[in-house]
């Protein structure tokens, strides 16, 4: 059985000793192939590239710099964030996703007929700052997420898979003009019915 191409290359390049392939000693075809490979390598190696002038390199660097300046600074991507931060953000996003899903479920179950007489208005509830823990005055996890996501635009979020097709974020950001108007009308109707 003849030597395979990778074996012939190894022998021709000298990374494999001919003595380790006993077949070569008895096969003129394989020996000829090894010789031809060596000859072609030698012929190819003999082809030079003219060295450009030293002045060319300065000119070249200047051209690249000009093109790069026109591009603006490269933006740091989600993937170049420190590796410790990425898992923290992932966990936070997962928690938020679960919270949104549960909230949606509660909303859909809570469709009850409106009472004929609206209850008397109650005293307004003091607004709650979600970023402030009443115990410590600061929720570090939410603060971290807020800080990390403060400069994350929609494109970055989409690349990171945070606004996947089917998500609320994806749906809202992909409505066309008439859908947005319809959504606005429905919301106004609901607000008018609830007396808000």
């Amino acid at each position: 059985m003849h030597l395979r191409p990778d074996e012939l290359i190894d022998v021709a390049e000298g990374t494999r000793a001919e003595s380790s392939a006993p077949h070569l000693a008895e096969c003129a075809v394989c020996r000829l192939q090894v010789e031809e490979l060596k000859a072609m390598m030698s012929a190819a190696a003999d082809v030079d590239v003219p060295e450009p002038s030293p002045l060319f390199w300065d000119h070249f660097s200047a051209r690249v710099r000009q093109a790069v300046d026109a591009e603006g600074a490269p933006r740091r991507s989600f993937w170049t964030w420190p590796r410790v931060v990425i898992p923290a953000v992932s966990v936070a996003v997962a928690v938020l996703a679960v919270a949104v899903t549960l909230n949606r479920g509660n909303t859909s179950r809570a469709v009850v007929p409106l009472p004929a007489v609206l209850p008397a208005p109650v005293a307004p509830v003091a607004s709650v700052d979600l970023l402030v823990d009443p115990q410590t005055g600061d929720d570090t996890a939410l603060t971290l997420v807020a800080e990390l996501s403060s400069d994350m635009d929609f494109e970055t979020a989409r690349e990171a898979g945070l606004a996947a097709r089917g998500s609320a974020e994806h749906a809202v950001t992909h409505l066309n003009g008439s859908e947005l108007r319809e959504l606005q009308r429905l919301l106004q109707e609901e607000l008018a019915r609830s007396g808000a």
Binding site: D46, P50, F56, F60, R76
Partner: protein, 212 residues
């Protein structure tokens, strides 16, 4: 007889050593020049575009030579090299340091060259376009013969299928290991060796016995 004559292009320099920029470096640039690849990339991503100048200076010659091996003329090699660095700059944020910066640049370079070469038929420089510089003793006929042989080999390489050509260029002229070539081309070591074998066999078929 030693090869002591140098053919140069109009506007090129008959010299083999790489020379550094003739412009003196500013102190901040001297600091950048001491940084390793990863730190340079980080500096670029932090907005220090001068860090990219250092990357260009370190790799411009090898990128240029790679491009020249594909297109066989100075003008196109120069344009392609610039394109390689511009693409590298745009994609710098995707460089994760899993391979060396050189390997990453080669990968971009091979893609740029193969795309350009397949989109446009490039002309090799003719022998007449070169200037003859008689540095030592090799006779003009010897040099002419060698140059004609080189032109035939280059033309044959240009006709190889894309992966075979890329493999041969990286192996023969950039002394990359089979594993490094596999990383650049996104294939296995076995496939690289097979491509190299077929590239050399096809060269033999195209050139016959004329260069042996």
């Amino acid at each position: 007889m030693a090869s002591s004559l140098t053919w140069t292009l109009p506007g090129t320099w008959p010299q083999r050593t790489v020379t550094q920029s003739t412009q003196p470096m500013r102190p901040a640039e001297r600091g950048l020049a001491d940084l390793d690849e990863r730190a340079l990339v980080e500096a670029c991503l932090s907005g220090q575009t001068s860090a990219f100048d250092v990357i260009v200076e370190r790799h411009r010659r090898s990128v240029y030579l790679l491009c020249y091996r594909f297109v066989s003329n100075h003008e196109d090699a120069s344009d392609l090299s610039q394109d390689v660095f511009l693409r590298a700059y745009r994609g710098l944020r995707s460089f994760r340091g899993q391979s060396s910066l050189a390997t990453w640049l080669y990968r971009i370079g091979v893609n740029v060259c193969l795309n350009r070469v397949s989109a446009k038929k490039l002309l090799s420089e003719s022998i007449e376009d070169r200037q003859f510089v008689d540095e030592k003793a090799e006779s003009a006929p010897d040099r002419l013969l060698k140059d004609e042989r080189g032109a035939r080999v280059r033309a044959a390489i240009a006709q190889l299928p894309r992966k075979q050509r890329a493999t041969l260029v990286l192996r023969m002229y950039h002394e990359m290991s089979h594993q490094e070539i596999a990383d650049v081309l996104g294939s296995s070591v076995g496939a690289v060796k097979a491509n190299f074998f077929h590239a050399l066999s096809n060269l033999k078929k195209m050139l016959g016995g004329e260069v042996l």
